[in-house]
């Protein structure tokens, strides 16, 4: 029974936390139209739809193709705004174009819409980890006057870094594991959802902060 309850909690851990954060963020004027807000809305909507498809025993793997692509675009825009220099802007823009091209090649030739897109997710994770590490490096080189624990962007970046780094190996192997139809696959996705919850916790801390940097 406990396993069932826990299973139920884990199942919706990629939907409920972002939904709660959306309501909290919506109450703050400066966050309502922010990119992290749109990211949370996207995650909540797509994950909810994926869960509904699971309940009706339909294949929901195509949702993750859209999730990967649109999340990557939103987070790329977030980092363009965060770094705020012409060089990084063009670099991130270039990376986004390259990613889109590789995503299309992957979807058309390697991992079609009815399979989990491990390749795209890994590439997105790799690039986004790079951006988040670059942000940490900037903090080392040019420490801000504000205490880092009060910086919203620090916590958002930490959430993104945690989610995409820790899940990297899950993303790499998930396509193969789904094709093998492993019965223990559910534990992998529950691990993913737990890490998703960790990211939401970091986002929550960031939402509570008053300053951006």
């Amino acid at each position: 029974m406990i396993a069932t309850i826990l299973g139920g909690i884990f199942k919706y851990m990629d939907t409920l936390p972002p939904l709660v954060l959306i309501f909290i963020a919506a109450g703050k004027k400066e966050l309502r139209g922010s990119l992290i807000f749109y990211f949370l809305v996207l995650q909540c909507a797509l994950n909810l739809y994926a869960n509904l498809l699971t309940i009706s025993n339909a294949n929901n793997l195509f949702i993750y193709h859209y999730n990967c692509l649109f999340s990557f675009f939103i987070l790329s825009l977030f980092y363009i705004k965060l770094f705020n220099t012409p060089n990084t802007k063009w670099l991130i823009f270039g990376a986004a174009l390259l990613f889109t091209l590789l995503f299309l090649i992957d979807t058309i030739y390697l991992e079609p819409m009815d399979q989990f897109n491990s390749n795209s997710f890994c590439l997105a994770a790799f690039i986004l980890c790079g951006y988040s590490l670059y942000y940490f490096m900037r903090i080392f080189k040019n420490p801000t006057g504000t205490h880092i624990s009060k910086s919203r962007n620090f916590w958002f970046n930490t959430g993104i870094f945690s989610y995409y780094t820790i899940n990297f190996f899950i993303f790499i192997t998930y396509n193969k594991l789904t094709l093998e139809k492993s019965p223990l696959l559910i534990y992998i996705w529950q691990m993913h959802n737990t890490i998703f919850l960790i990211m939401c916790i970091y986002f929550y801390v960031g939402i509570q902060c008053k300053t951006n940097d």
Binding site: I139, G145, I148, F161, S162, T165, N167, L177, M191
Partner: protein
């Protein structure tokens, strides 16, 4: 099953790695923030102490000027007035003598006024330098005829940064004031030397001395002020004294 375990194991390791990175960044930045805050506080404290020292120097100067005007200049001006009032034109020899005496007194008065005007200069230490400012203090004390104050200046005394010189001068004034008020000394000697970029300012008196431990533990602000000023300019302050054996105070500053 093995594959699942492997994936979970690697994921757990990545969780530990990311946690380590985040904690490291967090504590690094936190430490930087506190060091910056500490530095700002030190700068503010230094500026405040410097301002306080300048105000105290000015107060002491004004006190000295007031005393000089009353005790010295006022006396000389009165003597000039008496001389002029008691002039008898019919007594030529006497009048000439009094006029000569009055001329002498007037010259002395002008010299004393000039000397006072120098000490009224808004930043004596900046204008004249630390050594000259201390020599003026020595001269002032000697004029009271209550002490014999000597000042020995070594060769090649380098220029000291104005802010540090102001604080050193204030410390010198404080030490001299303590000797004047409490020591009952007859002789006070000051030596200013420079040895291997070490600036040494030493004071010695033949007064009654005191127990330095008792003074440190008591609530007196004098020694504490001296210590905090020395710490602020990274100078070493040593005070050696025993009851009945006089006092020796040394300030050493690495240039």
């Amino acid at each position: 099953m093995t594959e699942i375990k492997f994936v979970l194991g690697i994921t757990f390791l990545l969780l530990l790695l990311t946690t380590f990175v985040i904690v490291f960044v967090f504590f690094y930045q936190k430490r930087f923030y506190f060091l910056k805050k500490e530095k700002q506080e030190l700068i503010a404290k230094y500026a405040q102490l410097l301002l306080q020292s300048k105000i105290e120097i000015q107060e002491q100067t004004l006190q000295h000027v007031g005393q000089e005007l009353h005790d010295n200049l006022g006396q000389v001006a009165s003597l000039i007035k008496i001389n002029l009032n008691t002039l008898k034109l019919e007594d030529t020899a006497g009048t000439i003598e009094k006029i000569e005496s009055t001329k002498g007194l007037t010259r002395q008065l002008i010299a004393d006024i000039k000397s006072l005007s120098v000490s009224l200069g808004s930043d004596r230490v900046k204008q004249a330098g630390l050594v000259k400012a201390i020599e003026v203090e020595v001269e002032r004390l000697n004029k009271t005829r209550q002490f014999i104050v000597t000042c020995q200046v070594g060769a090649a005394i380098p220029d000291i940064d104005t802010d540090k010189a102001t604080i050193l001068f204030r410390m010198a004034q404080e030490i001299l004031n303590n000797a004047v008020k409490h020591s009952k000394a007859k002789h006070i000697s000051i030596s200013i030397n420079n040895s291997n970029k070490l600036f040494i300012l030493a004071f010695e008196d033949d007064g009654i001395g005191f127990n330095t431990e008792d003074k440190r533990q008591s609530a007196g602000a004098g020694l504490r002020n001296l210590s905090s000023r020395a710490n602020l300019i990274e100078a070493q302050l040593r005070i050696q004294s025993l009851p009945g054996n006089g006092t020796r105070a040394t300030i050493e500053l690495l240039l």
